[in-house]
Amino acid sequence: MAKPDIGGAPPEQSVFVLELPSDPRVIEGAVGYLSDRLRAYDFDGSRLTLNFRVGMAEVLANAMIYGNGSDPDKRVRVEVELSRDAVSVQVQDEGTGFDPGHVPDPTLPENLDLCGGRGIFLIRTLMDEVRYNDAGNCVRLVLRRDESRRRASGE
């Protein structure tokens, strides 16, 4: 009764910001929240459950753990622009950055049984656009709602 009407279609575009602590325990809740927002803009299927959820979880984990060094005094700023066409997310940490150009390919046979090194690969594989700033402490991701390319799959 006192609840706002959430039945109608959402506005053409939503823009919002989160400031998250550098704590992996909030990743699951934040990704769950963001996924619901995307669902309201008709994102669904593996674009939502695989590409968005895994890509987003990776980016947040890297910002919290590598960028902010799990320093509880540092925050991760997430800026989201969401429409029916695409979601664009900018994730900024308070670290000194890194060189995203120099990341070994985890799918090479010699890297296959390494425990780490798949995060950035997955971000790049799952998202449609991935652009780090020069420092490497801010990344802008774009995921389009329709799978317009890549991942030649069965259908």
């Binding site: 990743i27 695989l50 984990a61 049984d113 390494l114 780490g116 997955l122």
Partner: protein
């Protein structure tokens, strides 16, 4: 997220409920390593009730598989949904693991 462990004909079966991600993967790792320490050698992880897995979750699976093999054991995976299949294919980890469609198939001939 939570894990349930059960024993089935000498195979330790672990069900992963929820996400297997950086915030909780250590629990799974510890659970399996404890069983390995306790003498168990055959492990099956069942992903029927798993949502998504991130790179550090994949890393734990790779690491466990290695440690189990070093002790002469084997780790099998079962019940990956379409998303998880794709994830394993994208990372080529489908070539590293014995992945069965069903729990029964995985248990057969273990």
């Amino acid at each position: 997220m939570s894990f349930h462990t059960s024993k089935n004909n000498g195979v330790v079966v672990v069900d992963v409920d929820g996400q297997l991600i950086v915030g909780n993967r250590q629990e799974l790792k510890q659970k399996v390593l404890d069983e390995l320490e306790g003498g168990e050698r055959k492990f099956l992880i069942d992903f029927s009730n798993t949502g998504y897995i991130d790179s550090s979750g994949l890393g734990v699976l790779v690491s466990l598989s290695k440690k189990i093999r070093e002790q002469g054991g084997e780790l099998r995976l079962a019940n990956l949904n379409e998303d998880l299949r794709t994830l394993f294919e994208l990372t080529k980890l489908d070539t590293l693991f014995n992945i069965a469609d069903t729990r029964e198939a995985a248990l057969t001939g273990f």
